[in-house]
């Protein structure tokens, strides 16, 4: 059946419905950007307008709005609770699809029999796949910065496939803080650092950035926080909030698995969404050499420190409070 033909049976008719849904306004990937809080006011309005004709679309703008920190804390508590509750995976599901080699055909077909269990050193019976997963996970603790930059080639093209949404950007004033306060508390909003102070970074802890445009900005704006060590770089996971006039707040986090080695730098990129790099690891040579009218680049020296050591009482110690960013 070609897509334009009538379906011959209900399965094909259901497939046609699935195709229609994939093309409808609710499938626009920008909704996910909106839930992440990285969509500009203009794009949000455009999305909401497009969704109006879809079933339930009139409520989309309200319901896709970011859930907020309180909800996220709730999810974290629920996840930790589920994790701590434990339970033997062998008792729940003897067949884990993470390992097709045991019990499942290597040709990709679904398993035809349950994976055989093996006895763990402690006498616990666990599926073979689980035992191997646990062993592998320990040997893979070292994080991305230590791994080959396999994704670099894939990400490299991002800077050159620039979108055209929005015009030139004004200069930005950048404030940045790092450490426990930037992770957890309102103290992270203190940005009155002496000029030139190095950021103190620690695996698992936060970086908070505030970007203020020299003049109001029209159109979508986004930001990235990039951790650079030598020739390697990684775009950090971040929550980005933008205001209608182009101001940006970013809360990023250094992944807990990061190996604190080398001399780190933090690069802040603010630009039009099509000009920003995607997520993941990349080589420094893939980063823009400097600012241009559509992408501003700010660099800040940093040092590694132990988690939780950045300041007494959760405050931001003077040494790490930010000064002007170099360009």
């Amino acid at each position: 059946m070609s897509h334009g033909d009538e379906p011959r049976n209900a399965l094909e008719a259901a497939a046609r419905l699935a195709r229609e849904e994939a093309d409808d306004a609710l499938s626009d990937p920008r909704w996910e950007s909106y839930t992440e809080g990285i969509l500009s006011e203009d794009e949000r309005r455009e999305l909401a307008s497009q969704a109006t004709g879809s079933p339930g679309g009139e409520r989309a703008e309200e319901l896709f709005a970011p859930l907020g920190d309180e909800a996220q804390d709730r999810f974290l508590a629920a996840a930790m609770g589920a994790l701590r509750a434990g339970g033997s995976p062998a008792a729940v599901s003897p067949t884990l699809p993470g390992d097709a080699g045991a019990g499942a055909a290597n040709d990709g077909s679904p398993a035809r029999e349950e994976r055989p269990a093996q006895r763990a050193p402690g006498g616990e019976v666990v599926p073979i796949g689980v035992a191997r997963e646990k062993r592998d996970s320990r040997s893979r603790r070292a994080w991305v910065m230590a791994a080959p930059v396999a994704l670099a080639a894939a990400v490299a093209g991002v800077f050159f496939a620039r979108g055209r949404a929005g015009g030139p950007l004004p200069d930005y004033e950048v404030s940045i803080a790092a450490g426990p306060a930037a992770t957890r508390g309102p103290g992270g909003d203190t940005f009155d650092a002496p000029p030139g102070a190095a950021l103190e970074l620690a695996p698992g802890e936060g970086i908070r950035v505030r970007l203020r445009p020299g003049s109001p900005v029209k159109g979508p704006v986004g930001a990235r926080v990039v951790l650079v060590v030598g020739s390697r770089a990684a775009v950090l996971p971040a929550r980005v909030e933008t205001s209608g006039d182009g101001a940006v707040r970013v809360r990023a986090r250094v992944p807990a698995e990061t190996r604190p080695e080398g001399e780190p730098e933090v690069w802040i990129l603010v630009g039009r969404p099509g000009d920003l790099p995607g997520e993941g690891e990349l080589a420094t040579s893939d980063l823009p050499a400097g600012s241009d009218a559509r992408l501003r680049v700010f660099k800040r020296g940093a040092t590694w420190t132990a988690p939780g050591r950045q300041g007494p009482g959760g405050g931001v110690p003077p040494r790490q409070r930010p000064g002007p960013m170099k360009r």
């Binding site: 909704w31 896709f64 999810f75 589920a82 035809r112 603790r141």
Partner: protein
């Protein structure tokens, strides 16, 4: 940033900072998929309760992802080509569909074929009656497929039925054998018949899927 398998493993070993990072990364995609699934099927509560309903459902998915030592997250294998965001996004849609059907079962991560599953069935005959299958019935069939198929199973549904890829094309793209893809094709037809049987009676199911 797309989380790596190592980051997921750290979280599953109980590293709270890693769990926090994973929750922060996955919340937007779960929120978006849950909201979209509920909006499409008119399943959203009225008024201010709707956002709470969505947050509850997202929380429910997080519990499913981390329960039983993170069985659902351990089942994600990046080498199979699906990103973690897509993996958990699919499981979120599966969860919503299951709850909408009144089936609060655990997530379906993998399916088991019977011994005769590799045998190819006859291609579906033309069935003009299918044109009269109501949109509501088709929505329910689609939701039930989402609820009952594993991520890999639904991927096969997308490839073979939605995108209508040839079996040889699917084999080439996925590395699966011809008999494995044929097994999936047969399974999808049987599954659809079984669901329609539940929805509208056995006779109608045979009429629409055979």
């Amino acid at each position: 940033m797309e989380p790596t398998k190592a980051q997921v493993d750290s979280a599953l070993e109980g590293d709270e900072a890693a769990v926090r990072a994973l929750v922060a990364t996955l919340t937007p995609v779960l929120h978006a998929r849950v909201t979209r699934a509920l909006l499409r099927r008119g399943g959203v509560h009225a008024g201010s309760q709707a956002r709470e309903q969505i947050a509850d459902m997202v929380q429910d998915v997080f519990v499913e992802l981390f329960r039983d030592e993170g069985r659902a997250l351990r089942a994600w294998d990046p080498e199979r080509g699906m990103s973690l965001r897509n993996w958990v996004g699919f499981l979120a849609e599966q969860r919503v569909a299951a709850v909408r059907r009144g089936k609060r079962h655990t997530l379906v991560l993998q399916e088991v074929l019977s011994d005769d599953a590799g045998a190819e069935e006859a291609p579906p005959r033309d069935d003009p009656e299918a044109l009269y299958c109501s949109r509501q019935t088709l929505s329910r069939l689609l939701d039930a497929l989402r609820a009952d198929l594993s991520p890999q199973g639904f991927e096969m549904f997308e490839a073979l039925v939605i995108r209508e890829e040839a079996i040889s094309q699917v084999c080439e793209r996925t590395g699966f054998s011809t008999s494995a893809v044929q097994a999936w094709s047969s399974r999808l037809k049987r599954k659809a018949a079984q669901i329609l049987s539940e929805l509208s009676g056995p006779a109608l199911a045979q009429e629409h899927v055979a």
